[in-house]
Amino acid sequence: MSRSIDIQLRVNGEAVKATVPSRLNLVDFLRGDLSLTGSHVGCEHGVCGACTIIVDGNTVRGCLMLAAQANGTEITTIEGLADSGQSAALQAAFTNRNALQCGFCTPGMLASALGYIDAGGAPDRDAIRKHISGNYCRCTGYQSIVDAICDVIEEART
């Protein structure tokens, strides 16, 4: 319960050193210790996708990984994606399509969408729907999100 572990990692390009309780979730560490509150907590067991972040280039559920496991990793959160411009095209498309309402799922949705696009995903609506089916959105009908992701892929091809 009280065991702590020293970790060193890079978060959004900055070096981070911390001593964390062994049971601390990665997303709670990012939110609580680093004040990176853009990653959200929806279910805490890997179903809803609200805490999706990028760890060493892979999209990962921040609630299914312990902070201790992040030792030595390179992490990018929504704040990092936004600041670096990596998610700029998606942000513009989500805005134009109104692909968000409350915005709680949005950071995780962007991280998942970026994973699809960066892997060379096609502007195929069914494939996009399948890819984002680990990200729960209660507000939109998903259609605008699919539209926005398609827009980004198609614009990049032209």
């Binding site: 067991h45 179903v47 959160t77 805005t95 409350c102 709680f104 729907r129 089916s133």
Partner: protein, 793 residues
């Protein structure tokens, strides 16, 4: 020339344009501010020991081991908090006969549902508070629970509140015409079905939560609240924590979905505020997902026996229904838990020209999570019952369901008028909406294809619903019954020294685009560029007083208040401009940030006018006292509600081997009056449809016979995900409401209200060649297979 008619003709009016939301960028960059994103100095955290039983006497609470646990600041039981929080009772005087018992934030003496908070632990972190919860010992004596609504009124059923003698919370009978005579008339065929609607819940992705801070030096409680109605909560906190109302400030920043879930009095949130007051420091409580499932309000859960009579030529002669619903052990405070049943009684069959109607509703107590108003309140049930029976009648008399609707829907030129239950209706367009729907979906083509598909063993169905939606409620909804819930809303518009507008409103933002449409209305009516409007909502300290956003009232009521305030400010500014320019107001306009001639030629930039007023008042005549700020309030006066209508259709495929229902496409033609921003309305309707599809096909709070919720995780409670959802085509008819200048009605709940009926009808259409039909939601694969098997026997 500055009159209202001018508003909608300007080139830069903004109203009606698909402008992207200005505040989207913030949310897209991870810069949202949800309750759990807030931290305050000296903040501590609450966790709760909750009842593991549906019904149990609390014999003893032992906190000796928990108190010295690491990080623990305080532990409170129900008895402890009862000394500091007055109990609340969820009744309204206009819901005649509705009963409920006093409720405490933490259970006192008896726990009445699984998940009811029993003990609160405050510690320096949530994790430590949860650790200490494990060390709290509660001795329970289990009592027999009331779980099944159908036996809740039996003579031998346990009684949850012995002082009432039985478990009846409320009942109502509605009678119009003579249904028995109508059904007995020659040539009338009567169709009877028993409908079952499962319990479901809102599953807001951001769970409920609150951060409460108390400053004893000023006796000031500040509550960061994830919800829809800050002023309502201000009254509740003040009343039950014994504070002057003005000493309670409620702030709603970003809200991660609400849908009616976060607009009620939850014991854990009240307890958190009480703890902040007692400890004189900030206390945060964020519900985890399990807590959300067992304590967020549930909804639906109705068993309805219903009959519809139809003549051979397709005239519906009436509807007779009996609704039984269980609402948990208390009626929710302050909105009550009888409203959904009441809506069903009021709204079933409301689109149709019916002379005879009889409805009985009974609301019973049970030992499950409390039920209350979730998106669509009663609509999905009322529409599924009426339109489900209507499609069944169509099959019985061999008439096309569209033709049967056209024959019975109220004529578009028959308003103003009343429904069979006496609801006042105006400005509706059922016939046009249905015509537009069949046109955009290519109904003839789909029907033609269906026959061939069936021959190939593909069971596809087409289902319709024609619906009404209650929007823009007047004081007749809650205020008349004694609830401190405002039905009017206010808007303030202020011109700053740089020529920008600062607007504030009492309606609130949960993602609908409230702030965006407020800005559009202010910019368009007053005459500045959209990006020169700053919007403030969700703070009782800085916004006008009003109800907030619920019952599809934000745009219609709050939007009209904003329109009037912007118009009033424009009139004031033009008074000043006329003096400064030595002309008269009828020769001036405001366009794109400047006072102009009527032809648009710039006379005076607004910044110049404002700087003269604010900095160089010496240049103005002494008797001119400019007010560059205006506030207006608006309420609906002529109608209890402003009804909207929609026609929707679903195209589904049923896999008769597995029972799986695939929604192939969905269409919605919605008449919400003036569409302020089609980009926002369309996706809101789609989101509503998806929630409706969830209720129709997937979502159900499953309970064991002893009252344990069996699927209280997001892995087990099925919600619609992207891959199961169809593309949804949305179209509009704009029949303006005459109750306001803006002419906007609500749109937020239509999809949720209508989709279940359309899906039900589509599934039954698909199953019709098998002689099977289903009348239970959610229509799970197992239930679909069961009705197919029963039909085969």
């Amino acid at each position: 020339m500055t009159g209202p008619a001018h508003i909608f003709d300007k080139p830069n009016r903004y109203i009606g344009q698909p402008s992207p939301r200005v505040d989207a960028a913030r949310l897209l960059q991870g810069r949202g501010r949800f309750v759990d994103d807030e931290t305050l100095p000296r903040m501590v955290h609450a966790a709760f020991v909750r009842s593991p039983h549906a019904h149990a006497k609390i014999l003893e609470i032992e906190t000796t081991n928990a108190k010295p646990a690491p990080g623990v600041i305080a532990i409170y039981t129900g008895d402890d908090l009862a000394e500091h929080v007055t109990p609340y009772v969820g009744v309204l005087t206009h819901m005649k006969g509705l009963r409920s018992a006093p409720q405490h934030p933490l259970a006192v003496g008896i726990a009445r549902w699984q998940g009811e908070p029993v003990v609160m632990v405050i510690a320096t972190s949530r994790a430590l508070a949860e650790d200490a919860c494990e060390l709290v010992q509660v001795d329970y004596d289990e009592l027999p629970p009331v779980v099944d609504t159908e036996t809740a009124l039996d003579g031998d059923a346990p009684v949850i509140h012995p002082e009432f003698g039985n478990n009846l919370a409320w009942e109502r009978d509605v009678v119009a015409g003579d249904i028995d005579a109508a059904f007995a008339a020659p040539g009338v065929q009567v169709i009877e079905r028993e409908f079952r609607f499962g319990r479901h819940t809102g599953v807001t992705l951001e769970s409920r939560g609150t951060l409460c801070d108390f400053d004893p030096s000023e006796q000031q409680l500040t509550v960061y609240y994830s919800g829809q109605a800050p002023h309502m909560m201000q009254v509740i906190f003040a009343t039950h924590l014994d504070l002057p109302e003005e000493n309670v400030r409620v702030i709603s920043n970003d809200v991660g979905g609400s849908f009616g879930i976060k607009i009620h009095t939850y014991g854990d949130e009240i307890a958190t505020a009480a703890a902040a007051k007692l400890l004189k420091r900030p206390v945060k409580f964020i519900a985890d997902r399990f807590e959300s499932f067992v304590t967020d309000i549930h909804a639906r859960d109705h068993i309805i026996k219903a009959r519809m009579g139809v003549t051979r030529d397709g005239t519906i002669v009436g509807i007779d229904l009996d609704d039984l619903t269980g609402v948990g052990p208390f009626s929710m405070y302050p909105r009550t838990s009888a409203i959904e049943c009441n809506q069903i009684l009021n709204l079933t069959g409301a689109p149709y020209d019916l002379e005879n109607y009889r409805a009985k509703g009974r609301v019973v107590f049970q030992n499950k999570t409390l039920m209350c108003q979730y998106r669509g309140v009663g609509h999905p049930i009322a529409m599924a019952v009426a339109d489900g029976l209507l499609d069944d009648c169509a099959r019985a008399i061999g008439m096309d369901p569209v033709k049967l609707r056209q024959h019975n829907l109220m004529a578009d030129d028959s308003y103003p008028r009343a429904s069979a239950t006496g609801m006042k209706l105006d400005d509706l367009s059922h016939q046009r909406a249905l015509l537009k729907l069949t046109d955009i979906m290519d109904y003839k083509g789909l029907r033609a294809a269906q026959t061939g598909e069936r021959q190939n063993g593909i069971y596809r169905g087409i289902g319709f619903v024609s619906m009404v939606e209650v929007t823009n409620p007047s004081p007749m909804f809650y205020g008349v019954g004694g609830a401190s819930i405002a039905s009017q809303d206010g808007a303030t518009v202020r011109l700053d020294a740089g020529g920008a507008l600062h607007v504030s409103s009492s309606i609130t933002e949960q993602g609908q685009g409230t702030n965006a449409i407020l800005a559009q209305i202010a910019a368009g009516v007053f005459g500045v560029a959209l990006n020169r409007v700053k919007v403030t909502t969700g703070d009782t300290a800085t916004t006008p007083y009003g109800g907030g956003t619920w019952a599809s009232r934000g745009a219609g009521i709050g939007g009209e208040a904003m329109l009037q305030a912007a118009q009033a400010l424009k009139d004031q500014v033009l008074d000043v401009a006329a003096v400064m320019l030595q002309t008269t107001v009828d020769k001036l306009d405001i366009q794109d940030g400047a006072v102009t001639d009527l032809d648009g030629a710039i006379r005076l930039p607004l910044a110049d006018l404002a700087r003269t007023v604010y900095y160089r008042g010496n240049e103005l005549p002494k008797d001119l006292n400019p007010e560059l700020i205006a506030t207006r309030h608006y309420r609906v006066t002529d109608f209890p509600f402003v009804f909207t209508n929609a026609a929707m259709a679903a195209h589904v495929e049923v896999d008769i081997a597995t029972g799986f229902v695939k929604v192939l496409h969905f269409w919605a033609v919605e008449d919400c009056g003036r569409v302020i921003n089609p980009l926002l309305v369309d996706e809101q309707i789609r989101g509503g449809v998806v929630q409706g599809i969830g209720g129709a096909l997937y979502e159900e709070c499953q309970y064991s016979p002893d009252g344990q919720m069996l699927n209280a995780t997001m892995a087990d409670y099925m919600v619609p995900m992207a891959s199961e959802m169809p593309d949804i085509t949305v179209a509009h008819i704009e029949t303006l409401t005459k109750t306001s200048v803006l002419g906007a009605k609500g749109a937020g709940e239509a999809g949720t209200g209508g989709a279940p009926a359309a899906i039900l009808n589509a599934v039954n259409d698909a199953l019709s060649p098998l002689g099977a039909s289903i009348w239970q939601m959610p229509m799970t694969p197992e239930r679909v297979l069961n009705v197919i098997d029963s039909a085969a026997k």
